[in-house]
Symmetry: C2
Subunit: 268 residues, 2 copies
Amino acid sequence: MDKRAIGVFDSGVGGLTVLREIIEQMPFEDIIYFGDTARIPYGTKSSQTVIKYSQQNVRFLSQYDIKTIVVACNTASSIALKNLQESFDIPIIGVIDPGAKGAVQKTENNKIGVIGTTATVRSSAYQDRIREINPEISVIGTPCPLFVQIVEEGWEDSDVAELAAKKYLIELMDHEVDTLVLGCTHYPLLRYTLNKVLGNKVTLINPAYETAKALKEILTEKKMLRKSGETPVRRFFVSDAPEKFRRIGGNILNMEINNVDEVEIEKY
Amino acid sequence: MDKRAIGVFDSGVGGLTVLREIIEQMPFEDIIYFGDTARIPYGTKSSQTVIKYSQQNVRFLSQYDIKTIVVACNTASSIALKNLQESFDIPIIGVIDPGAKGAVQKTENNKIGVIGTTATVRSSAYQDRIREINPEISVIGTPCPLFVQIVEEGWEDSDVAELAAKKYLIELMDHEVDTLVLGCTHYPLLRYTLNKVLGNKVTLINPAYETAKALKEILTEKKMLRKSGETPVRRFFVSDAPEKFRRIGGNILNMEINNVDEVEIEKY
């Protein structure tokens, strides 16, 4: 058993959907979470900048006594993961590989859709990984940049969300995908609207869930999982607006967030 | 006549709508423009962070031989202008005061609406300034955070834009405002949709136009205006993705942008 904490970072609150799955599947682990709320969103930025920011985030988390780092942001996972794994000694996992595997297992007609930020879809990380696992699968990616704002506005079940989803997903529907990867941490909150637009025949894949599952398997295999213990310590850091993080993040995690501190992330 | 350049900054490309008006009204001025594309958007960030970023932007521009700085960003003008004016010797003007004056001149029923980012509307900068000029005017502010993304998606004339506008503006319409301040640099591009939703009785105020007009008056009065001269030099700097800025910015300015350099703004 390895008592050290799990480090998690994201561009903001979105990664808490990944953390929620981690807590649900591994309730005894200590957690250090960093949300880069000052520099959100990553999805519209250049690769070079996403890599620079991700490195700073890992350097910040590495100060603490951690056993592994989860890149809970789809954009950072798509663009920076390889660079991070080469630059740091600590094991680092992202959401792409688990999400891709989950989709490949589910598809029956070998047609998978991927939605995410512009940067995630353009990076082709999900598409490449899926084709690597099974070259016979055809994958179509569509960026849906408005979805994050729609969720942050609390409009996920509104007619605006439905109209935007219809505009974004028409091409995927024409291609008759039977499986859709929700390649952005905010998108699982649009599940109801997506089901309404796509119908029940399309299976939605939530990489947050798949990532927590993969992490648990790795920690179990390496005998690093905490199976019981004292009340776990969960600490949160943000680069801006801790009060807002406490409020919105508490809703996503469905538990009170008490320990939020502000960090000058540019210094790392 | 003062041959020094005019410095302009914004959180990204949006401020180019202000620059466009400056160029149209003062075609002989040299320009140094900084777009903080790495840290966009400002509208969701804390006041403390918006002030810190704005100070760095002014320090960057101050390296050049400039006679004045225009804060072309509504959020930075709302939150940081006073602080900037107190911290730096160079004359700095924002978009709020000209926008507020323009609205007060136009209203006939003394009911004005203000739309903008969450930070701009919450700061109450437009509302306070309008009431300061005429305490009998009632002002209602409504944040419309989705509008920026809608414009950046190129959906400004779509049914999504119309539905979002109806949701956002219903309260303003109930209050029968006859004048609406477009308190975010992206919003003038939604003019067609806003007219469709609000009807022709509501006058839309574009602070970009009002700001350029005010600046021209100040420079004329102080005998600092360039009324003729050689081809003006216009230089552009961004903190991320210069290629994207060249492309999107060129469309907004309606002229080719050749001189774009990338800056590490965190160092200022």
